[in-house]
Symmetry: C2
Subunit: 353 residues, 2 copies
């Protein structure tokens, strides 16, 4: 993805001012701030709630419980194969809502920009955010921009927060996993982390490893339609990968988990990149995959629904919840031995999202 | 305010690990991340929704329209007379909801921490956030922490997003200001900006200038109770000060505004600091003041309700909306002349909130 100027989402006159980059004044609440809002954010994210420009946006929500989520994004580099910090920020929060069983509705966006950050890069990020939001059927209803001096940021940090409505009767969560649940994953693991790391480390493969960043709301809706209340827990395995998400679920629900290591879907180029860097794909971040704990009677329908969806074509059964070794994730290795998959202390890959 | 360790809000065992400061792993989604959550954030912000530790928190809201708001905070220094980035971040988002006529309910918190940031400072910030949230009657229901390498941040950046419920029949907003509306301000202006600037510039006065950071929800509730639908528009004049907020209201509603410059309440020490630094208090940020546009028949009741409240004791009538010079803010000066108060291009004071 090139960083050429891409100003289709600007309206006049902001690009006509003689600032090729962000200046402190863009975060000052004066004319420069309002130009950024009026000529970049409003045209890109257009909707009525945003256009009112109040300190808060007022929206209507259907009756029901609300899911609320927040995530900050500090990924480096800002642009990587398959995506950028912009779509990552939208998809990440949409997915956090979706795995909670919610239909995502509204997002807020907070930028912390570094003085000198090119307006053309900001325009491109905003463009990708608007496309991702459109794709996920969510509206960006309010936002905020702050600017810090050169040397106190890294170009662009983004916070997205989101709300969604949890339909009546839906009750999924990490604590609801039960012994005997079948563990499913929606596709190959480690793609996002290795896409970012290949750029950072300058690794070249015959194929380009692309981030899997995607909004999972529609896939998850199909899974819920197929499995109903048999879908107990879901998680999108981002930072810390499948291993961390499974450990969190094991800890919250008190089940043990036995993984079948051979069943974990990994792209050969991702495996090769992991081997070179000395990493295990089970700890590498995903940005468009979901893990699901489903009761055994419904697992095959849910798996079938996943495989029919473009984002779930490589869905697989990867393990089982058990009622021994509570809170522990174990894997049966390819040679038939067992090993514990612990939660890591820190992380293998800093600033992956 | 000292930056001495202040660990009343920690539970074991996090402070016992040998990290005096934040390390990259605290943002990695592994054990260090969960220790931060379990031993600092959960005890400080304790509530049921947060304790579930899902990717999203599920909450109930009373029926009605929702107000949604987001704000990132990059203030320097992090601790200043009268407050710190923590209470500022909570009060700022609470106030954005309150001026929209909403009753604030839930907050999300996103931290971007710099490697090496002292855990004791983080503990103190979180403590102040919890106190401010308790004060405003809001719950912090979900959060996120990212860590960036040394030299890519400034200790601590915070995003807060919030939702509140807008009671039936309430309809206030910057576009609702009407000609003849009386313009009220709840107290002295410029306190926050000058508190921060005095620290940055090393200014010393006989009295200590303290930030006015405060949650305005209760004051605003009293104003709405006194004025009802006669309260047309409100705004908390933060970045860019009273001048910017009035310009925004004039622009959205199409009224003109005439200010009585003598009527603007300014503390003598704030005025002195502004004079030294060559600033006009009308452009200086406030973090605990509200501007209100109220129809003339209700203005005195609203003023009286404000003055009865501890945060509105110095409330004053400072001007009038008029149906000429649409979109323009003008001031009658002390010597009887008129001057236009324009929106500034950038800002006088970078990183004030």
């Amino acid at each position: 993805m090139s960083e050429q100027p891409h100003l289709s989402n600007w309206s006049c006159p902001l690009p006509l001012r003689d600032y090729p980059g962000i200046v402190l004044g863009h975060g000052g609440g004066g004319k420069l701030s309002s130009e950024l809002v009026e000529h970049l954010f409003l045209p890109a994210f257009k909707n009525e709630a945003l256009a009112n420009l109040g300190d808060a946006s007022v929206v209507s929500v259907p009756p029901g419980r609300l899911a609320i989520s927040t995530d900050s994004f500090v990924v480096q580099p800002l642009f990587f194969p398959g995506g950028c910090i912009g779509d990552l920020a939208v998809n990440g929060t949409v997915n956090d809502l979706a795995v909670g069983g919610a239909r995502p509705l509204y997002l807020t966006v907070g930028f912390i920009l570094e003085e000198g950050f090119p307006l053309s890069s900001l325009a491109m990020i905003v463009d990708r955010m608007a496309a991702a939001a459109g794709n996920a059927g969510v509206q960006v209803v309010t936002g905020d921009t702050k600017v810090v001096e050169r040397g106190h940021g890294d170009g662009c940090y983004i916070n997205t927060s989101g709300i969604g409505v949890v339909p009546h009767g839906v009750d999924v969560g990490p604590a609801k996993a039960s012994p005997d649940d079948v563990v499913l994953v929606s596709g190959t693991i480690g793609d996002h982390g290795m896409a970012v790391m290949s750029v950072r480390e300058g690794l070249q493969f015959e194929t380009l490893i692309e981030s899997d960043t995607a909004s999972l709301h529609d896939l998850i809706e199909q899974m819920m339609a197929a499995g109903g209340s048999a879908v107990h827990a879901m998680r999108d395995p981002t930072r810390g990968g499948v291993a961390s998400s499974l450990n969190e679920i094991a800890k919250s629900s008190g089940v043990g988990i036995v993984l079948d290591e051979k069943a974990l879907p990994v792209r050969p180029d991702v495996q090769a990149a992991c081997d070179i860097l000395g990493m295990d794909p089970i700890y590498v971040a995903n940005e468009g995959k979901v893990l699901a704990f489903v009761s055994p009677d419904a697992a095959s329908q849910v798996l079938e629904a996943m495989r029919k969806h473009p984002l779930g074509m490589n869905a697989s059964i990867i393990g089982r919840a058990v009622n021994h070794h509570a809170g522990i994730v174990a894997a049966r290795t390819a040679i038939g031995a067992s090993r514990v998959i612990p939660m890591q202390i820190g992380e293998q890959l800093p600033r992956i999202c």
